[in-house]
């Protein structure tokens, strides 16, 4: 009887106790981080990293559709930062655009943050400076999604006559030197979104204009994209915070001077410990359930 009450009590535990356990397990590794070996996903992260790494240096153009919202920031913002860093290291030109209004602040923040990192390092004699209009351009926001996605395949100047800061796009040196007019003059589109926008890019930009598309997506939506990965319609993919941390690791391996804040890697020890805690709680919950049922069926 006493045993049954223990299982019953555990079944009826207050949900706030669970929250507290999860919070502790999450916070302790943030304050006292530990390193765990991280295996790079070959068919997602590595494929994407190699694809961007194979863009022609000084001639490559990467269009990033940064459609992340504040609620997606922990997963998608590190991906955006990592992509921009990779492009700047390899002197690949970056175009950033947004299809949702609430993405604008984060996209601009990422560009400014990485540009400042590179320019501070350049001031110390490491690496090169990056200049707005020559190395990167922030195109701003243009709705609704399908219209600019199709329009960029015809003429970028019709969709974005001016950049986010009001400069005439045709007047910016990067556009004139690289003669960027449409998808034909770009190497790949990277779609960062918590919804199915990468598939929209596959359907409208890739199927129609043939440009390669990759995605940076939240973990909850990863399963939707695997069929497109298998069919090679997506050139690699970053899956949630883990994908971003893997990309940061590849960047550190390839570019030893990389010393910027590793936004995703910071959270990985916490991620691992919380996963272990949740697995243990699921097992414990099931044991409690079956033990409780066993005692009830025996009429104890």
């Amino acid at each position: 009887m006493e045993q049954r009450s223990v299982w019953k009590k555990m079944m009826d535990v207050d949900r706030r106790v669970i929250y507290l356990i999860v919070a502790v397990v999450m916070i302790v590794p943030i304050i006292f981080p530990f390193d765990l070996p991280m295996k790079i996903s070959k068919r997602t992260t590595e494929v994407l990293f190699n694809a961007i790494d194979s863009f022609p240096e000084q001639h490559g153009v990467f269009l990033i559709s940064a459609d992340l919202n504040p609620q997606d920031q922990p997963e998608l913002f590190p991906m955006l930062v990592a992509w921009i860093r990779h492009c700047f290291y390899r002197d690949i030109k970056v175009l950033v655009m947004c299809l949702y209004p609430t993405s604008m602040g984060l996209a601009e923040q990422a560009l400014n943050q990485v540009a400042m990192e590179f320019n501070n390092r350049a001031a110390d004699g490491i690496g090169r400076r990056v200049v707005y209009g020559e190395d990167y351009i922030f195109l701003g926001y243009k709705p609704p999604p399908i219209v600019p996605i199709l329009g960029l395949g015809e003429n970028i100047y019709d969709v974005f006559p001016r950049d986010f800061y009001g400069n005439e796009l045709k007047s910016l040196p990067m556009m004139t030197k690289k003669n960027i007019k449409s998808y034909r003059d770009m190497d790949m589109i990277g779609s960062l979104a918590a919804n199915t926008l990468p598939i929209t890019y596959v359907a409208y930009a890739q199927a129609r204009y043939g440009i390669r598309v990759t995605g940076g997506v939240t973990a909850v939506s990863v399963a939707d994209f695997y069929p497109y990965l298998d069919s090679e319609q997506l050139t690699g993919m970053l899956e949630g915070m883990k994908g971003a941390a893997e990309y940061e690791q590849l960047l550190r391996q390839q570019f030893p001077e990389e010393n910027g804040r590793q936004l995703a890697s910071e959270g990985m020890s916490s991620q691992s410990s919380t996963h272990i805690a949740i697995i243990l709680m699921i097992v414990l919950g099931n044991v409690c359930y079956f033990m409780n049922r066993r005692y009830e069926t025996r009429g104890m």
Binding site: I30, I31, E75, P101, A223, Q271
Partner: protein, 229 residues
């Protein structure tokens, strides 16, 4: 000055984060304040951006430019050309768009069908061929194993696994015949496959939600409290 401003906004963000977290204990006034503030700020921000990025360049500037051209040079047919930067043609789609407002006038509310019909027709025409090609034709192509695929045992194994589990799942959801005899074990494999799919989705969902919480905790302990280097 910028440092003080940055610290001020970090404090605001931290207090709002704590207000949202307070819902975990129970619903309270701090949570509801933060929730309403978020919705209000997000809407205000979006409306302002849409006004400056859509309404002004696509509606106001073309008509203003056409007015200036009309007063300077008089009427020309170019002012009705939709491909000119400044034109009056834009008034026509504006009027069609404005028909959405008829939703609030019962006697003419049927007119809302006009802009809805145009929008649906446009998007359907664009979507059908694109989706058919990307999500059906290319997916079918990718599911076909060719002779070169058999060079790798893993491709063959996973190809067969996908094929068999797809068939088993379809049979599980085939309700026109009773699941007995040969259909019984196959449909059981089907339900097992569905359960594995649910488990994978649950795991990914947990991973995503934990990532969001970690992001907030890193902000609180690193950017706000500074207890982590």
């Amino acid at each position: 000055m910028s440092m003080i401003l940055e610290a001020f906004w970090i404090w605001i963000a931290a207090l709002l984060t704590l207000a949202i977290f307070s819902f975990l204990w129970k619903d309270n006034v701090f949570y509801r304040t933060a929730e309403h503030l978020y919705i209000g700020v997000a809407n205000g921000y979006s409306i302002t951006l849409i006004y400056y990025n859509v309404v002004l360049p696509n509606m106001v500037y073309p008509i203003r430019g056409a007015n200036q051209a009309l007063s300077a040079d008089g009427f020309s047919w170019g002012l009705l050309n939709p491909f000119n930067d400044h034109n009056y043609f834009i008034i026509l789609p504006m009027m069609v768009g404005a028909l959405y407002i008829t939703r609030f006038i019962p006697s003419v509310s049927w007119m809302i069908r006009i802009p809805i019909g145009i929008t649906m027709g446009y998007y359907t025409a664009i979507a059908i061929p694109a989706s058919f090609k990307a999500s059906i034709v290319r997916q079918l192509e990718a599911s076909i194993l060719t002779r070169s695929d058999f060079d790798s045992w893993s491709v063959v194994f996973y190809g067969l696994l996908i094929f068999l589990t797809t068939v088993a799942t379809l049979i599980y959801f085939f309700f026109s015949a009773e699941h007995k005899g040969a259909l019984k074990p196959i449909s059981e494999i089907g339900i097992l496959t569905v359960m594995v799919g649910f488990g994978a989705s649950f795991g990914l969902t947990v991973m995503a939600r934990i990532s969001l919480a970690i992001g907030r905790f890193i902000f609180l302990f690193k950017d706000w409290l500074g207890v982590v280097s």
